[in-house]
Symmetry: C2
């Protein structure tokens, strides 16, 4: 028996890596004073229809539940956020700066960087129209990646603006109901034969290809990049109007983060979706909004690829896994005394391990080393004294068992003092 295709078992090593990714995501989001929230992993299928765009709906893990409801395992968070904000916005001061860490699902062909589930960080600013929000959000995206040890040599955030394209459509008298379709054509233009794109674009083909080749001029995009420059983040961004994003609900600035080597899919992506809460609220409440998502799968691959990031991750995992004290029971007559003190030490918050059953002393010390213990306490012939061994310095001392708790506190604060 195995896990379903596209689903992962997280054994301790993989789980530690995942938790380390979560910890960085959470820490940097909180540096930006974002507050955490979370939605349900199962939602009415309705929530994604029309809003997310056809690509996502085709890949839904959806079914009819035992109460005859059409439900779907969530493919993305933004529609849930718009639903929740539409229902609760009066309870909060605007702008909301919210982040969330959770799991998402898509039924699609497995390929590199794409499974059928992944974890995502979602960060959103709701209720602020000003470009300052766009700058803040892109800066957050950059800083989240920098927290993994990546530099401007490793990744770049490509920024675009759907309004740049919709302005062009308007100038060319393209009816508004065709805009979504044309944006999707431009989004796919890098992955499709030029003739196919040209055919779909019709009389727009020439101006679009010219812009994609030479780059476009946009005052808004220049301002956005300027704001990032002032924060010292200029080297992490590039204007690229070819970025459009696949989701249907984006209305303005859109962006994607890529590895510089071009080896992977987008590491993160997001944009403005100013009309989504209105679509999901009873009273058509309109709240400007911008957000991005970053998945753990491509990110994890990039961490493995870049030595600096890989080493930082490995170091964080090793240090996080360490226990404080291993209790070596050298004489079985002392097991009860040892267990009493194990309970007391754990009550003080220390991470303690010991062998549940009689084991050779050498094997107990070996386990202490493997688990990265700072101290070993040996319960044996020395009783009522306990031998304290500093596993880094190998220094040993004898401490009376009734003075042990205070001594251990001292030793663990000053590892060299034993």
């Amino acid at each position: 028996m195995q896990a379903l295709p596209g689903f992962r078992d997280f054994l301790p090593e993989g789980c530690a890596k995942r938790n380390c990714i979560f910890a960085r995501w959470r820490e940097v989001s909180r540096r930006y004073a974002f507050v955490e929230w979370e939605g349900p992993v199962l939602e009415p299928t309705e929530l994604y229809k029309k809003k997310s765009g056809s690509e996502i709906v085709d890949q839904l893990f959806n079914f009819t539940d035992k109460g005859e409801r059409e439900v779907a395992m969530r493919p993305e968070l933004t529609p849930t956020l718009a639903r929740v904000v539409a229902a609760h916005e009066r309870e909060f001061k605007k702008p909301l700066k919210w982040f969330s860490i959770g799991q998402f699902f898509r039924y699609e062909k497995q390929q590199r960087g794409r499974l059928r589930e992944h974890f995502q960080l979602n960060c959103d600013i709701i209720g602020e129209n000003d470009l300052a929000a766009d700058i803040e959000l892109v800066a957050l995206c950059i800083d989240v990646l920098r927290a993994f040890g990546f530099t401007e040599k490793d990744f770049v955030v490509r920024i675009s603006d759907r309004e740049f394209w919709t302005d062009l459509f308007r100038e060319n008298n393209v009816p508004a109901e065709r805009w979504d379709e044309l944006l999707q054509v431009i989004d796919k233009s890098g992955r499709e034969p030029r003739e196919k794109t040209a055919e779909k674009l019709g009389h727009l083909a020439d101006p679009v290809f010219a812009i994609l080749k030479s780059g476009g001029q946009s005052e808004k995009l220049d301002k956005l990049v300027d704001g990032l420059c002032r924060r010292g983040l200029a080297d992490f961004v590039a204007i690229d109007v070819g970025i459009v994003r696949g989701l249907a609900y984006y209305t303005g600035i859109v962006f994607e983060a890529f590895d510089r080597a071009g080896k992977f899919r987008a590491i993160a992506g997001g944009g403005r979706y100013d009309n989504l809460t209105a679509q999901l609220s009873d009273d058509a409440l309109s709240l400007p909004a911008i957000g991005f998502a970053m998945g753990d799968v491509v990110l994890g691959e990039l961490i493995n690829e870049i030595p600096r990031a890989r080493e930082a991750m490995q170091k964080a995992i090793t240090s996080d896994r360490k226990i404080d004290i291993y209790i070596v029971i050298a004489k079985e007559e002392r097991r009860t005394d040892a267990l009493t003190q194990i309970q007391q030490l754990r009550d003080r918050g220390y991470r303690i391990d010991y062998s549940l059953t009689p084991t050779k002393v050498a094997r107990q010390f070996q386990a202490a080393e493997e688990e990265g213990a700072s101290l070993a306490l040996l319960y044996g012939d020395e009783w009522p004294q306990v031998k304290v061994k500093n596993l880094a310095t190998r220094a040993e001392s004898l401490i009376s068992h009734d003075a042990l708790l205070d001594s251990v506190a001292k030793f663990l604060n000053m590892p060299g003092s034993v």
Copy 2:
């Protein structure tokens, strides 16, 4: 549009509480040197059929996926653990001491303490037959609850042994294929009319009722309780052979934690399941195992019920939510300078907030207070000096902007020093 019935939206307050529960779960598990792992939330339905027992299978969120696979949103973790351990056990030293924090799903009637999803802590020891493992695991369950501020006056762990009952069945020549069914009858006996239970038990009714009334004698249970006594946990446990648990796979010790007032469902429950890995492994690998699970819903209700726990939770949430510094932009000409320093301060790991758009100074200070900032830095007429205000003491001082980063580090370590 709302969340599906039985599913929760976690707004910031609720999410903070959930995260606080996760943090306690994780912290105490790690004091016991348990290591974290996680399985998929979607599994083959097959994994739960027969193994978990009919109650769970009737309540599965199951469906046929687009690849014609019978799949289910997981109702519990133990079958996944047995599957994963059966596949990977050679990679790890025994015993494994593993914990996991994740979400689980059941399609059932909503009632107090039962939704259609909840989060669970699962802790398991795999590969150790000795009663020392049972004692360690029950102690961990007790210590997890103590970490929320609960005392022996608030909860009790009731411990039983399925072997106590199967021994009785054997003495009374009950064929082994009826044991599961009879255990379920005893499990339900407290919730069913006595006559109905008596009818199902047949000639066993008299001895079973006698034991349920007077309590049973069990050397194993006495030893287990004795082991907990030596750790100072005697007041948290009681032998209660009426505890049987609903799951089909338990083989030995079983236990459940209840609030003393008897107001809620079980807060946690677990037991030995020595045969489960053999059922899920190709080579019928048999590994003794014991584990427990604790859900966040009943636990959350008990936290609200007990003032000590409720206050501890509220304090943890408030302290966790605080930002370090609020940047007050008193003159818009200083916004760019402020943003440069905001970036530098965040790079150093501080939690910083500021107003994205021009805002009255009084409102900025109000936001600083509401977010629990330790310091406010004011960028205005004093430039190139910055006014540093300690929001606890109200003390103010002026610092040159180029000395600010070091000064802030000092201020945040010694909050009284401004």
